[in-house]
């Protein structure tokens, strides 16, 4: 069966510090991968998605970036965090195809001080 791992679960970082969140998927190959951010009590905002290694599509301009160095690894990064980067970050995967469900990790709660 397929599993998705996302870590860390919580993270407290000072403003201006770098960020690296990692997400890995097991039990499937060539998945679509997604990074979302969720503000408190709100819906999900798609940040990045990837349909293959090295292929990243950005949905919103910001100081975050994403990379996919391996087929089942998706990394969210920032060189300098802003207060507005606080939130709940969720990684998800789906199979290939136009009509497929997405499967989510347990998220990372990021607090910027």
């Amino acid at each position: 069966s397929q599993t998705i791992h996302q870590w860390p679960a919580t993270l407290v970082q000072p403003v201006g510090s770098p960020l690296s969140l990692e997400c890995t998927v097991e039990g499937t190959s060539n998945p679509n991968l997604y990074w979302y951010r969720q503000a408190a009590g709100r819906g999900l905002q798609l940040l990045f998605y990837s349909v293959g290694i090295g292929q990243i599509s950005s949905e919103v301009p910001q100081n975050l970036s994403a990379s996919r160095p391996q087929d089942r690894q998706f990394i969210l990064s920032s060189k300098k965090l802003l207060l507005s980067d606080s939130g709940f970050y969720l990684c998800a995967w789906s199979g290939q195809g136009a009509v497929v469900a997405q499967h989510f990790g347990d998220g990372t709660r990021l607090s910027i001080l």
Partner: protein
């Protein structure tokens, strides 16, 4: 951008009652999905309905889709305390293949 809008934003009912949540959207879709999120956790996929389908069932869940009204409803029958969670609709379109656009969610509370 948010596509789906859930209604109501919050719903509180007694255990055993049925819960109905609605979702409206603005643009053409090829599928609509419902997800559940327990507090502080990731989303769990519940059910997917394609644009050429009108109704779908899964256990105690019943989803309807009316593409002429650009709306969907999720019915949870015989609710249980464990159904307490936030519920989100998400839409997929041909133009935005591989992507889903999520609504703001309905916070459902089941009182024992």
């Amino acid at each position: 951008s948010q596509q789906g809008e859930e209604d109501p934003q919050a719903l509180s009912i007694q255990e055993g009652e049925n819960a109905t949540m609605n979702c409206s959207y603005k643009t053409s879709i090829n599928n609509l999905q419902w997800y559940r999120q327990n507090s502080g956790r990731g989303l769990v996929h519940l059910i997917l309905i394609r644009s050429n389908e009108r109704e779908k069932h899964s256990g105690r869940l019943r989803v309807t889709l009316d593409t002429s009204k650009k709306s969907s409803s999720l019915l949870i029958t015989a609710s249980r305390a464990a159904d307490t969670a936030s519920y989100f609709c998400a839409t997929g379109s041909i133009q935005g293949a591989q992507k889903l656009v999520f609504g703001q969610g309905t916070r459902l509370t089941i009182n024992p």
